[in-house]
Every structure is written in C-alpha cells, then in structure tokens.
Amino acid sequence: MAISFELTDNSRCARDFYRKMAVEQMRPIARRYDVEEHALPTEWVDYYWEHGRKGPPTDFSTPADGMVQVCIQVEELCWGDAALYLRMPTASLGGAAVGSAGTFKGDGPPIWGAMAITEPGAGSDTAAIQTTADFDGDEWVLNGTKIFCTNGEGASQFEGGFVVVWATVDKSAGRGGIKSFVVPAKTPGMKLVGLEKKLGIRASDTATLLFENCRVPADHLLGSAKVRKKDPSKTGDKGFKGAMATFDASRPIVAAMAIGIGRASLDLCRDELEKQGIRIRYDAPRCDLTVIERDFIDMEAELQAARLLTWRAAWMMNHGKPNNLEASMSKAKAGLAVTKITQKVVELLGPIGYSQKLLAEKWMRDAKVNDIYEGTQQINQLIVARRVLDYSSSMLR
C-alpha cells in the first residue's frame, strides 16, 4: 500500500453521474421545496426512484472504492441539494432492518425507511428513552412518542415503508433493555402527529410519531430479545453497542453531506467574486492578500481538511479497521467547518448573500443541522476525547 489521493475510475464515474443529476434535477427545484416546506418533491422522488437509485453504470473491471466512493457520491448529491437528498426514497436510514424485515422490494412505488430513536426527553442520551415494548400474546406492543424522525412521513404513511423504533423492554435494565422494532407503514396504533418546521433542510420531512398500543409480530424485533442487566459498556452488549456501531458508518456519510453543502457555498462564492473580477491568488505575498482572499483560502483548507478526515474514516471501513475515533473526528470537523464556511459565504457576499435570490442563505441554514444530528459536535468531541484519553464512558461523562 502507499499513500494516495487518486480517485478510482469508478469513483470518478460515480462523481460525474451524480454531479449531472445534481445540476439537472436538484438545483432547479432546490429553492421551490425550501419555500414549500413539507411538500413532497414528486418529480425528484420519481426521478431518483427510476434513474438514480441503481447508481451509475459500473465498470467491474476496475476496482470500486467502497465507502470512499459512497462519500464522494453523497457529497455530489448534497452539493445539489441536501434537503432533496434527505427526501430521497431510501431504506438506508432503516439500516439493518432492510434484510431482516424483508419489506424492501425492488420494484413498485418509492419506499422510505426511517429510524425513530429521539424522544422529547432523550436526544444524545439514547439510553434514556421511555418508549416501551411489552410482549403480549405473540406480539410486541409499543407505546411512546418519537420525534425528529427523518423520512418519518414517507416511512409511516406510504405503502411499503417502515419505521425502526427504539424502545425499552425493561426500564430497570437501562441500555441493556433497549431493542429495535420494525413497524410497517400504516400499522394501527402508529400515528403521524406532526412535521417539524425547521431552520433548514425544509424539503426533508422530520416527523413526530405517536405509538399507542401499536402491535407488531414477534419477529419484528431486530436481534435478540434477551436483556443483559449488567453495564453494557463492560460486557459488550451487542444490542446497544451494535446500534452505536452503525454511527461509525453513518457519521462519515453525514460529514460528506456537510462537505457537499460547504463546497456548493464556496463554488458560488468563487463564481460571484469572479464576476466582480476578483480572483483568489495563491502565490501572492502574505501582506498583499485581501481579507476576502485570506478567508477564502482558509475556508478551502478547512473544507479539504474535513474531506480528507472523512475519506480516511471511510477508507478504514473498507479495510475493516475499527473507525469509531476517526468517524467522530470527521463528523465533528465537517459539521463545524461547514457551519462556519456557509456563514462566512453569506457574509462575504454582502447583501446578495442574505438575499433569497441566491442559495447561499439556504445553504447556511441547511448546513447547520450537520453539526447537530447523528451526534452533535459535543457528542463527537466526547467520543474523540474518550478515545484519545483512553477513558471509558463512566470516566468521562
């Protein structure tokens, strides 16, 4: 092996494929679905389901680049529009549920999957969730309220969709009692009670779901029903730890989403500056650089730094290397860097930066969520800190 930053032919091909889709399908409707919050972007959903989901034509004679390629694809789509990307019909947020539940079929209408974890009183502290699952007869009965379910409308309301619900089967067992359950769309007892109005990513449906004696068959529990009462951080509880491990895969993807938005902002900024005859000079002496040039160069460095951390975390997955630390590093860096970049671009562009005539203001709003969901900046700092200090979760709270 040797250090290399050369994209594979497959990665280039995928990048170009999704970039074209971003330019032709996403950008033209990005503003409309930001304004028409909660409206289903039918043309995008149908297009993606028909043409996008199978991906680019792949040349199997050259190597694919696994998760790195996934990150490159996600960056392109979110360069197009992060909110529409999130609204894509996909089961991926349902994660492992796809195979187990067998609800995902190749043909037919678009299908969404959603994860229902967060509750009004339990966000980052997922071990504190209150939704209960009781075994009754040969069914699980779910009761509780779930908020911030991305794709929650599609997953709960449209035929073929499904929601993966986290619930406790034994509150006294703490984390060990938390299990996940597949709830197919339209299951009686599962109600869509609201869609959040948000700062950004407005085309993405963020649902509140109410579970009132919602019954699902016994085999809709994912994994084992067995409850481990001991401290799961010490015994290696597979249920909770397994759920947490999915973050090691999803955090680089969220980082890539952020990077796509950041790059969109920087590209726009560069174009607008060039229209005014301003070119960024990389070979000018320090004292001659304008504030705009300094800011721009620093933003480029920050964005590339985040991208490389993200690719590294993805590359580690490709090689089966544990990447808990590196995944959190990439997410923490990308979430914050892109939040700052998109804000700075609004500032640099002056009055037109704040105007809805351009997308800069939208991207500033869209970017911020990347520093919040899939583990806030602070949660990822905490994970990194524990790893580099070699502290357990009980030693560094």
Binding site: M1, A2, I3, V68, R312, K333, L382, A385, V388
Partner: protein, 362 residues
Amino acid sequence: MIEFEPTEEQQLIVDTVRQFAANEIRPQAHDAAESRKLPENVLAQAHELGLVALGLDEAHGGGGDRSAVTGVLIAEELAYGDLAIALAILSPSLTGLPVTEFGTDPQKAEILPALVGPSFCAGSLALIEPDFRFDPFRPTTRAALDGGDYTLRGHKCFVPWLDSGDHVLVIAMEDDDPQAFLVPRNTKGLAATPERNLGLDALPTVEIELDDVRVPASARLGGDAGCDVHSIIDRGRIALAATAVGVSRAAFEIARDYAKEREAFGAPIATKQAIAFKIADMAIEIDAARLLVWEAAWLLDSGAKATREAVLASRQAAQVALVVTDGAVQVLGGYGYIRDYLPEMLHRNACGYTNFETLTLI
C-alpha cells in the same frame, strides 16, 4: 485508489525516526534551547541514519528517493522530537535537494559529496528577507551579470548557519525571474550576523548582507537552464507544514499526559469536559493538518504543480500549530508558562510558522 497507509518501507523509516526522536532528540530539546547550542552528537547520529542522503542524487552517493511523501513523514517525526534540532538535522537538504533536482553535473560534484560524506555537513538557504512586504516569489535581493560574474546585492534573514557548512544557496531576482546561486560562505562582501528570535533558540541562524558579492556564472543553480524557485518554495512550504504537525503532536501528547495525571477537585483534570474537549479538538486538527500535508506531498510526487495545495497545507498547519501549542500551555496552567516544561518553547517555536516560509526542504 484512496489510501492512507505508507508503504512498508516508509513505515520502517517512520518507526526508526520516531524512536530516534523520542530517545535521542527530545531528551536534549530543553537544554539545547536553554544553552542555545545544538547537541553535536545528535547531528552525528542523525547523519548516520542517512535521512537527508536518502533524497540526494544517486550518482553522487545519495539514495535517489525523491518522494515528497517520504520526506514529510520524516520531517514530522523529527520535529516531534524538537523543531530546532530537526531543522538542523535536515539543513543539508537546503542545498542538497535543489542541487540534486536542478544542479549541473559540476555543481553536483562540488556540493553533494560533502553532504553524504562520513561526517555531518550542514546546508543553508537564504530566501527570507527582513521586510513585512517580503514576497518569496519576488525577493528584493538582486543578481546581475557583470563581466563573466554575477553580482549579488540584498539582505536576508532566518538563514540557517551551522558550523559545519560551507555554502549557502541564495535566492535572488535576475531580471524578472527568481533564481538560486551557490555562494561560498566566505565570499567577500557577504556579512553574517547571528540572530536571536522568538523561538528556535538552539538553531543557529543569521541575517546576511550581500554587498556586491561576486560569484562566477557557474554558481547559478542549473547553469543556463536555471532552476524553478517556485517549486523549491512549494516543497519548502509543505516540508515546513509537516514539521508543524510534528510540533503540534508533541504539544498534544504532553498536554494529554499531563491532564490525565494532574488532579484538581479530586479528579484528573482530563475528566473535565473543558479540558477533555480541548484535547479532542487538538487531536482532530492535528490529524486534519497531517492529511493536508500528505495530499500536497502526494501531488508533488505525481508530478503536478502544488502551489495551491502547499498554501492550503502550510496555512492550516501553521494555524493548528499555534492553537495546539497555545492549548498545551493552557492545559498545563502555571507550569505551561515555566521554561522547565516544554510547552512554552513549543509555543514560541510554533509562532514562527506564519513567518518562516521555507526553513527546510523535502
């Protein structure tokens, strides 16, 4: 394919240099700075390792490995030991590498054998000028043909000036083009004055005045073809950025270890989020800067121009070094301000990354 793992051969070099830095360089860092004197034995030992010779011309006794990636891996590890000592160890590269890349055969025969000889022989580069408007691509020092000779006029600073060297490579404008000239240190008209700076205490550096310094036309690096000063500066910036990552890593480790040992209010301060998060941020930024450096070096190795990437990597690494070493001083609290502990020196050294441009090469 995107890869983040050095070759086995590179890893072997990294492991060797890392051990050398920890066992031989670091223990001498403090005393070297306080006494403002390089530990001679370390220079000799490092010379034995052949780290600089590795990149020099094979036909003249070098290793012929011009990989910039290998270069940044070595530079980070050495600087992790100590920046001043690392720059001293690497100083032969300041003349050796440009001569290897651009030199004529007679220039190689004149310069390189000493650098790969039995004992350590320093090199030197005079690029930076003591003016806040300094532009590395357009220095104010001028070179003009006069008869068959070049005459050099100008003022340089931050010029490494170790005892053992005998040449300095001077960057000067020839008409509208920056070029490099091999100048024997004892040439008439060249006056060197030792400097004292904010940091780098152990590294001897000088300001030099070039007052109609005459050198033969054959002193022009590359002869008639000349050399590409832009490429030398790109390499220098990337090399220096690699050392910034090493300095940052040193500061990070000291802060991390101290925070786990030092107790306040009944627990190690590292168990407080205010400290733990600072340490987490340091770790993230150091890794990020390293990857930027690697990418820029990889780009050089691929034969592409890397001016933009060198600027991004060096600005980022400079900023990270400043923040991380300042953070280390802060984590150590009062002890961070005391010279018996290393963070204050690391911080003073790191402050120079915004000013140095090029003090070493890969």
